[in-house]
Every structure is written in structure tokens, then in C-alpha cells.
């Protein structure tokens, strides 16, 4: 398994089937250290399944996932997390009966057993995502946008090398979108490589260094944002063949 220099995540020919449905078909792409890669595709393209395979929640039927030269294929989610891969969920999963601060402390405890240190790290992360004033609130009272920020803070607290964000702006009011985009940019500028699923085209074009487009479980395009958005197959996948001229 020779790693390409500079490659952090190497996805090689990943296939995932659910019965007769092929959710991911022979997917291959790479993410470099510090790179921000957008993943687009219509509903059902296999984006969230791909995240589940990469983070160990679903074992792939074939193919390999390599993180910094080490295979992590079919490792348990917690093992992959401890190797420096953080993630958020499309269907948000905050710890509702815990405070915002406690939620993030759970993440911070990955790197320290000392509650005081975890507390300090959690406050740092909350500050970073702009939720510090909500630290003592229960997670269940937060708005959708705030919960997305909470999940990001929680994932940041594990000090990830790679962060997988599933739908940054989905279900969020228009007013909160610019703030969330800024946040993603800032986290990436801090040195964390990112893989971002996003439906809002303007958002994905604005933040990504590179875009991977999926359709019906397959990679149909991989390249710079402008090239992908003008690619015939991508337009076809989104709008149907009639528009792709």
C-alpha cells in the first residue's frame, strides 16, 4: 500500500450493496492533507452511505479505505475516530439530555482523561463555532443551525486530521448560511482536511478546492469546482439529458 505523497485519505474502489441496491459502486478518489473536497450528487446518489463506509458505520462489500497510508477498511467507528477522523450526521445526533458544553466535552475526552482539560478544550471549540454563550443550555433547545454548529464543535474537539461534514446548510434558514460557510472555511484554514456533502451548489462551489460528483452510486466527475459544474454528465444527473447541450 504505497501512499501518494500528500495524500491523507485514499478511497480505492469502494462498493457497498444493500440487497439488490448498489449504493456505492467502485468509488475511488483522494483527499490531500488540508484539502477541502466537496461531494455533490442528487438524492440517493450514495453520499451518506459513502460517509458511513468511510467512518466504519457500514462495512464495504469490496474496496479499501486508506488513511495516511494505513488501511482503515471495516474498522469500528470508534477506532476510526481515534485515528483522527471526525464526522457530523445528516440526521443530527446531539446528546439531548446533556448541556452544549457537556456534548463537546465528550469529544474532548478522546484526547484527555482530565475533566478540567476537557472542559477547557470544549470551551475553545465552542468559541470557535460561535456557541460559547450557549454552553450551559441543553442541546435539545438549540435551533437546527446551532445544532449543526454543536456537532461540528463536538467533532473538532477530538482534534481530527480529517473532518466529514454531512450537509452543512441543509434545513438551515437562509440567514445562517453565510456564517456556517465562514465556519467551514475557518476550520479548514486551521489545517483540517475536509470532506463536505452539500446540496447548495453556490455553497459547495464557494468553499471547495475540488468537487467529486456522485450519481446512482458512481463517481461521474472529479475535478476543480468550475469544471465539475460545467460537466455534461453532472448537468444531466441534476437536470436531465435535455439541458446537457
Amino acid at each position: 500500500m504505497s501512499a501518494q505523497p500528500g495524500t491523507l485519505l485514499d478511497v480505492r474502489g469502494v462498493t457497498k450493496r444493500f440487497g439488490g441496491l448498489v449504493a456505492n459502486k467502485d468509488i475511488s478518489f483522494r483527499v490531500s492533507h488540508g484539502e477541502l473536497v466537496g461531494i455533490i450528487g442528487p438524492n440517493g446518489a450514495g453520499k451518506s452511505t459513502l460517509f458511513d463506509v468511510l467512518t466504519g458505520f457500514q462495512p464495504p462489500d469490496s474496496g479499501a479505505v486508506i488513511l495516511d497510508g494505513e488501511p482503515i477498511t471495516s474498522r469500528r467507528p470508534d477506532e476510526i475516530s481515534r485515528r483522527g477522523v471526525g464526522r457530523t450526521f445528516q440526521k443530527l445526533k446531539p446528546f439531548n439530555q446533556m448541556t452544549v458544553l457537556e456534548n463537546v466535552m465528550v469529544g474532548a475526552f478522546q484526547k484527555t482523561g482530565d475533566p478540567a482539560e476537557a472542559h477547557a478544550r470544549a470551551l475553545e471549540c465552542l468559541h470557535q463555532v460561535g456557541l460559547k454563550d450557549k454552553a450551559q443550555a441543553h442541546a435539545r433547545v438549540l435551533s437546527t443551525g446551532q445544532r449543526k454548529r454543536l456537532e461540528m464543535a463536538r467533532a473538532l474537539a477530538i482534534r481530527p486530521r480529517l473532518l466529514l461534514l454531512d450537509e452543512v446548510t441543509g434545513g438551515v434558514d437562509q440567514g445562517s448560511i453565510p456564517g456556517l460557510i465562514e465556519l467551514v472555511r475557518a476550520m479548514n484554514a486551521g489545517g483540517v482536511a475536509m470532506l463536505v456533502i452539500e446540496h447548495n451548489m453556490r455553497v459547495i462551489m464557494g468553499i471547495s478546492h475540488r468537487v467529486v460528483a456522485l450519481h446512482l452510486g458512481e463517481v461521474i466527475c472529479d475535478g476543480p469546482p468550475q469544471a465539475v459544474v460545467n460537466d455534461r454528465r453532472v448537468i444531466e444527473a441534476y437536470l436531465g439529458g435535455a439541458y446537457a447541450r
Partner: protein, 320 residues
């Protein structure tokens, strides 16, 4: 509440509890308090697994019975002091809990609870049919005189039992408090709230569930040995029934699960209530006591599912 005031109030409450047997010298009030302490500590042990870690067990009588049987058999067969038996019982209960947890923790939610009921029934049936361990007839702990700490028997007064039960409760509270504030406590609660999110943050979910199970089972077994030495007779019907597992759970649920004081409050209400209804309404042959007891539990679970602790917290918020 400010910290200083909490410490003063806590100190006063502890002093009052220590002085109680000196003021109340009759057996009944002491017995009532001992029963409260025992159920509070059992419910607290259950609370560690179910309240904090979210794994609802309805088979905790298995661990209680393990404690009771281990110390009793060791005393009867080998003359080992029940204190050593208590430790061996706890170790056995922990080992048993890990063996049960290994397959059963692959199940989520209600399936876990159902599996624990099944385990409880299996163990009770095994013990009923195991003649060497007393079978359905049960086992007596041989009476030993005079009273001695080594023998763990006190026939002159219940005072020493009172202090031992109080000590066990304080131990359970102390362990819960320490756990609550540590990484382990945070991980338990995260697992209760969402296993996938917990795993995504690097928590080895199954290992922590096993840890919660071990803590809970070990503590419960201590209570079992205490019961055997206090009552001096055990049988599968008294230390291994499903009804005991459910009662332990009810005490915690009534007081408030996932809280430090919930199980204590639950026991302080439920035990006198059950003793009261039994004394005043029992013996009529119409099970009126059980009816009232059951109705009260239903009422509380409908009106305030968060338990008494949630009620108290709501009241405090309202008064500012």
C-alpha cells in the same frame, strides 16, 4: 445551592442518619431504615447501568442472588467469613455480568431489557433445580453467637446492620458521584443519548457498556450478601425473582433515573409506602395493599415520568 451550604446540609443529614438508631431503639424503625438503605443502594447500582448508560436491565436479581448465594454457600460449606464471601460474590457477579453482557449488548433498546428478563428466569430456574445449593427449599445461614463482626451476625440489636447498610449506600453514592464527574460518566451518558454519535467521537461503546454492567453488578451483589446475612435465609423466590428486578428498577424510576439522589428519594418513598400498605391493608386476603401500591406507581409514571427529581427541579426553576 452554594457549595458551602450543600456541605453543611449534607453533613447535618449524615449526622442525623448516624444518630437515628441511638434515638429510635425499637426494631421496626431501624428495620425500615435498613430496608430503605438497601433498596436505595440497589437502585443506585441499577441506575449506574440504566440511568446513566441507558441499558435497561430487568434481570438485576441475578446479581443480587449471586451475592446472596455465594456468601451463604461459602459460610455453610467452608466457614468463610461473609465479608470475604461478599467480595467473592461481587467478583463472581462481575464475571457473570461480563458473560451476559458480551452477547446481550449487541442488542439495542427493548431487546436488551427482554434478554435480561430471560437471563433472570433461566438463573432462577437453575437455582430452583440445583439441590446442592438448596434448590427450591433454600438455604439457612447458620446462627452464630455471640454477635461478632467477623461472623456478620448481630442478634441483640439491629444497630450494626443499620450502620453496615448505611455504609453500603454511601459506597454506592460515592462511586456514582465519582463516575458522574469522570470521563467514564460522560461516556455513559453519551452512549445513553446516541450510540452512533458516541462511537463517532471515539467511544468504544461495547467496552463502556460492559464497564457499566460490571460496576452495577458488583454493587448489587454486595447488597445480596447483606440481605442474606440480615435475613439469614435465602431461596430462589426471595433473592432471584423477576419481581425483585422490577422493584429495583421502580425505585430508581420513581425517584428519577440518571440522577445521584433519585434512587435515594425513590427508596425513601416506596419502602415506607409498601411497608405501610402491607401493615394497614395487608392480611385482608384481598391484596388491597398491592392495588394501592400499584395505582400510586401508575399515577407517578403518568404525571411525572422523570421521577420525583424532575418534579423537584421543575419546582426549583419556578421559584427561581
Amino acid at each position: 445551592m452554594p457549595r458551602a451550604r450543600r456541605i453543611v446540609l449534607g453533613g447535618l443529614a449524615l449526622l442525623a442518619l448516624l444518630a437515628f438508631p441511638l434515638v429510635f431503639t425499637l426494631p421496626f424503625p431501624r428495620h425500615l431504615m435498613i430496608t430503605i438503605f438497601l433498596y436505595a443502594m440497589l437502585a443506585q447500582a441499577w441506575n449506574l447501568l440504566a440511568g446513566y448508560c441507558g441499558q435497561i436491565s430487568l434481570g438485576h436479581a441475578v446479581f443480587f442472588g449471586t451475592g446472596a448465594y455465594t456468601s451463604t454457600i461459602l459460610v455453610n460449606q467452608l466457614g468463610v467469613t461473609p465479608w470475604a464471601g461478599m467480595l467473592v460474590g461481587a467478583v463472581l457477579a462481575i464475571a457473570l455480568s461480563q458473560a451476559i453482557g458480551y452477547p446481550v449488548f449487541r442488542l439495542r433498546g427493548h431487546y436488551f431489557a427482554i434478554a435480561t428478563i430471560a437471563v433472570g428466569e433461566i438463573v432462577q430456574t437453575l437455582m430452583i433445580n440445583w439441590d446442592w445449593a438448596g434448590g427450591a427449599r433454600g438455604l439457612f445461614v447458620p446462627m452464630k453467637r455471640p454477635d461478632s463482626v467477623v461472623n456478620f451476625q448481630f442478634h441483640d440489636s439491629k444497630q450494626t446492620y443499620y450502620y453496615i447498610a448505611l455504609g453500603l449506600l454511601l459506597l454506592a453514592l460515592w462511586i456514582t458521584r465519582r463516575t458522574e464527574r469522570s470521563r467514564t460518566g460522560y461516556y455513559f451518558r453519551a452512549i445513553r443519548e446516541d450510540q452512533d454519535a458516541a462511537a463517532s467521537l471515539g467511544i468504544p461503546v461495547t467496552r463502556y457498556k460492559q464497564r457499566a454492567m460490571a460496576l452495577s453488578a458488583g454493587l448489587t451483589a454486595l447488597g445480596g450478601t447483606f440481605y442474606a446475612q440480615y435475613i439469614l435465609f435465602i431461596d430462589p423466590e426471595s433473592v432471584l425473582p423477576l419481581s425483585l428486578s422490577i422493584l429495583i428498577c421502580l425505585v430508581a424510576v420513581l425517584g428519577g433515573v440518571g440522577t445521584l439522589w433519585g434512587p435515594v428519594i425513590g427508596a425513601a418513598i416506596l419502602v415506607p409506602l409498601s411497608e405501610g400498605t402491607r401493615i394497614y391493608l395487608g392480611g385482608t386476603g384481598k391484596a388491597l395493599d398491592l392495588l394501592i401500591y400499584g395505582a400510586l406507581i401508575m399515577l407517578i409514571s403518568v404525571i411525572q415520568p422523570g421521577g420525583i427529581m424532575a418534579l423537584a427541579q421543575r419546582g426549583r426553576r419556578r421559584t427561581g
